[in-house]
């Protein structure tokens, strides 16, 4: 670690003045964001507010038109779809792009962590949706990323599986200490998982809520829903 990057060694990512536009349409407008190591940040927002665009920019998948992203190392991404390679076994999937020695052993350890340690040589097609998403999580964490980007990874799962995944993710993040940016539509998910909740609107972060030091929720459900433009106090005529 070089002396000049003392602060960045604490940070999973630092974003300053990030701008992303599709032609004349500005989707992210001079956005600033800092995520620390081990910090779990949830990003809420209506569809089309630019949250997935932000995640893709952080992942290096899309070019940016202005600003700066300082992320030490390559971020790992878990997408909404598991994106497992159907022609590779589970351990091969987990070790995809993994540099260094003994990929099978390290992939095996990661699969044990997500509870699939006995399925190393199985094919993805034999997995349930939740299991496949667990393999995708193992594939991301085996890289020991500083920054873990989660793009609505639980959206396609049934309610019970989703809750199990929440527990698992929380546990794994606590152990591996990456900075996490979770993009989600699900207010309850954000409350359950995040240390800090950001609400994005019109390409900027409109508000943010921090969990208190006792680990209490970052914000109330009603408050978040109001900020997302959802009326919660039902008016009975």
């Amino acid at each position: 670690m070089s002396p000049t990057s003392v602060t960045s060694s604490e940070n999973a990512v630092t974003v300053s003045g990030l701008t992303r536009a599709y032609g004349p349409r500005v989707v992210i407008d001079r956005l600033d964001l800092r995520i620390g190591r081990g910090e779990f940040v949830a990003l809420l927002g209506e569809s089309g507010c630019g949250k997935t665009t932000l995640l893709r920019a952080l992942a290096g998948l899309d070019p940016i038109q202005g600003g700066h992203i300082d992320a030490p190392g390559r971020p790992a991404v878990v997408f909404q779809e598991h994106r497992l390679l159907p022609w590779d076994t589970l351990w091969q999937n987990v070790s995809l792009g993994l540099p260094g020695a003994d990929p099978r052993k390290r992939a095996a350890a990661a699969l044990v962590e997500v509870g699939l340690g006995d399925r190393l040589d199985d094919w993805p097609r034999n997995l349930s949706g939740g299991q496949a998403q667990r393999v995708a999580l193992a594939r991301a964490l085996v890289q020991e990323p500083r920054l873990l980007l989660l793009d609505e990874p639980f959206a396609a799962l049934d309610a019970l599986t989703r809750i199990r995944m929440h527990v698992l993710v929380k546990e794994l993040v606590a152990r591996h200490q990456p900075g996490v940016l979770l993009v989600t539509h699900d207010v309850d998910e954000a409350i359950a998982l995040a240390d800090r909740i950001l609400v994005m609107r019109n390409g900027v972060i409109a508000s943010q809520h921090r969990a208190d030091t006792h680990g209490g929720p970052a914000a109330s459900r009603d408050q978040l829903l109001r900020e997302l433009g959802v009326a919660t106090n039902l008016q009975v005529a």
Binding site: A59, G60, L61, R83, L85, W87, D88, D121
Partner: protein, 292 residues
């Protein structure tokens, strides 16, 4: 305009390429096959066996002139005699060698061009139209021209086989690469794969079902091209054996070569199927069992 190659008229390709949603035809056969119980398999062999027995009986009774259709037993005896004299194996070897050489050359050209076009829109603009125009020619129509170019030597035969093989491989390689889920390619980039790793880990395996369909189709074409090329002019090979036998009205030898052509065609198809089962064990339409 999507990425599809125009004029894709190979029926077999529609039937066998690996689609995201299996085609009904493939599905139906996949369901029907395990249902074929052993006694049904025995049943399915009754008609061919009866046919051969009747054929033999008619020939033995003298109802079938040996000039028209020799008895199956006579064909077998001829096969045995020609095997002992070594000429059958020699001609068979020559034919197989030609097919293999043509397949290797045509297959390589088809694969390389198909890969280029699959990857690059510029390569597609440069190459695809020309290839499609040449493909519009029934390649057997080129036989007279090819004879003018190469004479009736090895060059003519290998050229014709290559020509027949190159197109199915080309089309299916291009198609296979185009059909790869862009989300998987994006994943490869996220995981930090180099271009070479991307090709090896994601693009080629993803295109493989389609490429193997091309291989299977082109094996049949290769064989057909070879039969024509050897029949037109040759001093050795199965086709020569047949044409030589025609001079002497040796119908038994002619029938023998036809049977051998058929057997090799079946063998080639079986090899291609075996390759599919081995290489596509992961694929729900090909592999069986749950683990490798």
């Amino acid at each position: 305009m999507d990425g599809r190659v125009s004029n894709v008229d190979y029926v077999i390709q529609q039937e066998y390429r690996a689609p995201a949603t299996p085609t009904p035809a493939r599905n139906a056969s996949a369901i029907a096959k395990p249902g074929l119980k052993p006694n049904l398999i025995v049943l399915s062999w009754i008609a061919p066996v009866v046919l051969i027995v009747v054929w033999e009986a008619l020939a033995q009774a003298g109802w079938l002139s040996p000039q028209v259709l020799p008895a199956p037993s006579k064909v077998l005896r001829t096969a045995w005699k020609l095997t002992l004299s070594g000429s059958l194996l020699n001609d068979l070897g020559v034919s197989l060698l030609r097919a293999a050489a043509g397949f290797a050359i045509g297959g390589s050209i088809g694969f390389i061009l198909g890969t280029l076009v699959g990857f690059s829109r510029i390569a597609e603009a440069l190459i695809d139209r020309s290839v499609q125009m040449i493909r519009a020619i029934p390649f057997l129509a080129l036989v007279p021209l090819v004879i003018v170019w190469f004479g009736v030597g090895e060059g003519q035969k290998i050229f014709l086989v290559s020509l027949g093989v190159a197109f199915p491989i080309y089309i299916n390689t291009t198609l296979g690469i185009r059909q790869i889920d862009p989300k998987l390619i994006e994943l490869g980039r996220v995981q930090g794969l180099s271009t070479l790793q991307l090709i090896r880990r994601i693009i080629l395996p993803g295109a493989l079902p389609s490429i193997l369909t091309g291989v299977r189709y082109s094996l049949a074409t290769a064989w057909l091209a070879l039969v024509v090329a050897e029949t037109v002019g040759a001093q050795s090979g199965l086709g020569f054996l047949a044409m030589d036998a025609r001079e002497f009205l040796r119908t038994d030898v002619i029938v023998l070569t036809i049977v051998i052509y058929a057997l090799i065609g079946v063998a080639a198809d079986s090899i291609a199927r075996l390759l599919e089962r081995k290489l596509l064990a992961w694929h729900p339409n090909y592999g069986k069992g749950t683990r490798s």
